[in-house]
């Protein structure tokens, strides 16, 4: 957390202001305001159906917010994510995400998945396929660099032996790791993880928390984390935002949030998440 505290005073990487998302009569996100900083892990927690995934979908351009602003600062550029086309949010604004229900390309190999994540760079190097078709040096070098990046992530996650296997045939825990590796291969400024620990066993969960911390410290990027596993969230988050019925009911450090009566009430109100130990 030391790295994070130094960052707190700086300008935030991501700012969400008065974000509202309605589906017909249902208000899934209700005037939500929060910020996420580079080099920090910001957790988004709340009972089932609180609107956490909807916030991610607004940030990554899958939903157009009903109102409000989502702003990201990358380098000297400022992007309004609530207006940017979905693919540009990933490509230009540098927002990468994983999905609550894994979305790998099941009939492609692990390595291919990681190369698709580097599409924009490789496409430019292949001069929109011309240099690639002709087999020019310029493209081959870029492809080698892309494979090297993919390999470094596979080595880091201990997945090298699965590189040439189809993703769809691999165990659930491996798929979760591959999805994170794939998101990191886009070289993002902000990484959004939607319940990365869901379905993992305790050993895998410990491994995951180490991975998330190492990504924060090594790359200095911002991390947004949705998670129901409270010991994981409390253990690694720098800041926590608590949602209930789409609205922010609390925000602060793990210690602050844990002792906030509003949070305790929200969680006690839910039968299946009575002790806040994860409703999944």
């Amino acid at each position: 957390m030391s790295a994070a505290h130094a960052m707190q005073s700086e300008l935030p990487l991501l700012e969400v202001r008065d974000l509202t998302m309605r589906f017909g009569g249902l208000t899934a996100v209700d005037r939500l305001t929060f910020a996420a900083h580079s080099g920090a892990i910001t957790a988004l927690i709340g009972p089932n159906g609180a609107g956490k995934t909807t916030v991610f979908n607004c940030i990554t351009g899958f939903y157009r917010p009903t109102s409000g602003a989502i702003v990201i600062e990358r380098g000297d550029e400022t992007y309004r994510l609530d207006r940017l086309a979905g693919h540009r949010i990933a490509r230009d604004a540098g927002v990468a995400r994983t999905f609550q229900n894994i979305r790998l390309f099941p009939n492609m190999t692990v390595l291919e998945n990681l190369l698709v994540a580097q599409h924009a760079r490789l496409m430019r190097a292949s001069a929109f396929s011309l240099a690639g078709l002709l087999g020019l040096r310029r493209y081959r070098d870029a492809e080698e660099a892309g494979i090297a990046l993919a390999r470094s992530w596979l080595e880091r996650l201990d997945l090298v032996q699965y590189a040439d296997r189809d993703c769809g045939t691999l165990a659930y825990g491996l798929q979760r790791k591959i999805e994170i590796a794939r998101a990191m291969c886009t070289q993002p400024a902000l990484l959004c993880l939607d319940e990365p620990a869901a379905g993992l066993n305790p050993r895998e969960t410990t491994e995951l928390s180490r991975l998330i911390i190492s990504i924060r410290d090594e790359f200095g990027i911002g991390i947004l984390l949705i998670e129901h596993d409270m010991s994981l969230v409390m253990g690694i988050s720098d800041r926590i935002v608590v949602l209930d019925h789409g609205a922010r009911i609390s925000e602060g450090t793990p210690a602050e949030v844990r002792s906030d009566p509003a949070v305790i009430r929200a969680y006690l109100g839910e039968d299946d998440t009575a002790n806040g130990e994860g409703g999944r």
Binding site: T60, G61, F62, A85, G86, H87, R88, A90, R91, A96, R97, F99, R103, L104, F105, P106, N107, M108, T109, L111, E112, L115, V116, A117, H119, A120, L122, M123, S126, F128, S129, G132, L133, Y139, I147, R151, L154, V160, Q161, Y162, A163, D164, R182, T186
Partner: protein
């Protein structure tokens, strides 16, 4: 193991249902004999219907019973075909190369007559179309039922360019491809948001639209009569006519050999072989490039693709455009081979056959397309003698392939890149 009462009654129910369907179909199809002359009345054949319904009932009953009593095998060995394929996999490159050599030598064989060479080039047209459509359907996963439209655009582009602008085959070939690609992109725009069945319906409509425009725009296209006397291609300026026009040299004159009509057929055969191989090499290369992987990624999961920064618009349009381009090339060849074209060559059944070639062959499999094209093009041709049973045989072959290998004849997918092939790669 003796069939249980429950499975017998279930089988009886199945069989009755099938028999009812058979009855509905058999009444008009087998029950009535159409008169050969106008004066003759319709002849009813009730026994034919009874026989058909009985056959279906008994057959379905036995099949259902067989399936319900079969014990699931614990250690099912892979079927013979799969095992043979598995054994061949390491040699696939060599097998493919050997196959190409055999195909290239075919017209020079002593047993190759005019009909065989002509049939060979017909098969090669469909192989090329199959490989082209494979880009759209097999790689990008966009179900296109109107592929023949681009084939038509290519054929008419070549014809019109050759007749009105006096361009020769080699000059108009790239233009025909470009026009077809343009139409591919034009079709792509309105269907960007559609997938699966919806996309299939719209592309089907597009294919019909092109055909109807060709029929009705008679000033340009000659309407349903079509256009004839389309110039034949030349080999570096050498034509394949018996008596070339003044100032031209014919192939046989240049080489000082007697004129033979088969020379032109052989030339056309090699021309379409070269075009098909171009399609193959292009698809193999582009599959390993970022665009190719983007096509496959989009097929697998559009939402995940977008979250990784892929622009679905560009990815889809490039697949439509490039797939259409190859249909355009094939169309130009078709026009020059036939010497005349009319809209009836570009009906929906052509799209259906090309799609069947891709699906039966195994989506995304290059060699599968070849096998399926051989089956689907040669079978009806060779079965000409069977007259009325030809389409029945054709349908039966398709059903058999789908039952036996639901994912296509050869459904193996080769990764576009392997870490294992590199130094210090995966074990």
């Amino acid at each position: 193991m003796a069939p249980q009462a429950s499975s017998i009654s279930a089988a009886l129910r199945e069989a009755s249902l099938a028999a009812a369907v058979a009855l509905v179909l058999a009444l008009p199809l087998a029950g009535v004999r159409l008169p050969s002359g106008a004066a003759e009345p319709l002849a009813f054949r009730p026994w034919w219907v009874v026989a058909a319904v009985l056959a279906v009932f008994v057959g379905r009953f036995l099949i259902a019973l067989h399936i319900s009593t079969r014990r699931p095998r614990a250690f099912a060995a892979p079927p013979l075909f799969d095992r043979a394929l598995g054994a061949m996999t390491p040699w696939r490159r060599w097998i493919f190369a050997g196959f190409i050599v055999a195909v290239a030598l075919l017209p020079l064989m002593p047993f190759a007559d005019r009909r065989m060479i002509d049939l060979g080039s017909l098969v090669l047209i469909y192989v090329m179309l199959g490989w082209g459509l494979n880009i759209v359907v097999g790689l990008a996963g966009l179900l296109d039922l109107g592929y023949v439209a681009f084939y038509a655009v290519g054929a008419y582009s070549y014809t019109l360019l050759a007749i009105h602008f006096d361009l020769n085959f080699w000059e108009s070939l790239p233009l025909a491809g470009a026009f077809a690609a343009l139409f591919g992109v034009l079709l792509g725009f309105p269907v960007l948001r559609l997938r699966g069945d919806y996309l299939a319906i719209v592309t089907l409509g597009f294919g019909e639209m092109i055909r109807i425009v060709l029929i009705n725009w008679s000033d340009l296209t000659g309407g349903s009569e079509g256009i004839s006397s389309i110039p034949a291609p030349t080999l570096f300026g050498l034509s394949f006519t018996a008596n070339p026009a003044a100032g031209e040299t014919a192939f046989h004159q240049f080489f000082g050999i007697p004129f033979a009509g088969v020379h032109k057929l052989i030339f056309l055969y090699y021309l379409i072989l070269a075009l098909a191989l171009l399609t193959h090499v292009f698809s193999m290369r582009i599959r390993r490039l970022p665009v190719g992987r983007a096509w496959e990624a989009l097929r697998e999961d559009e939402i995940a693709s977008r979250a990784l920064g892929l622009n679905p618009v560009m990815v889809k349009l490039s697949a439509f455009g490039i797939g259409a381009m190859f249909a355009g090339f094939a169309g130009a060849f078709f026009a020059t081979r036939q010497g005349f074209i009319n809209p009836s060559s570009f009906t929906f059944i052509e799209s259906a056959i090309i799609l069947a070639i891709v699906v039966l062959g195994g989506m995304g499999s290059q060699m599968g397309v070849v096998c399926a094209a051989l089956v689907l093009v040669l079978l009806p041709e060779l079965a000409r003698d069977l007259a009325g049973f030809r389409m029945l045989l054709f349908g039966a072959a398709m059903v058999a392939i789908m039952v036996w290998r639901p994912r296509g004849l050869l459904s193996h997918r080769e990764p576009s890149v392997r870490l294992g092939d590199r130094a210090g790669g995966a074990p």
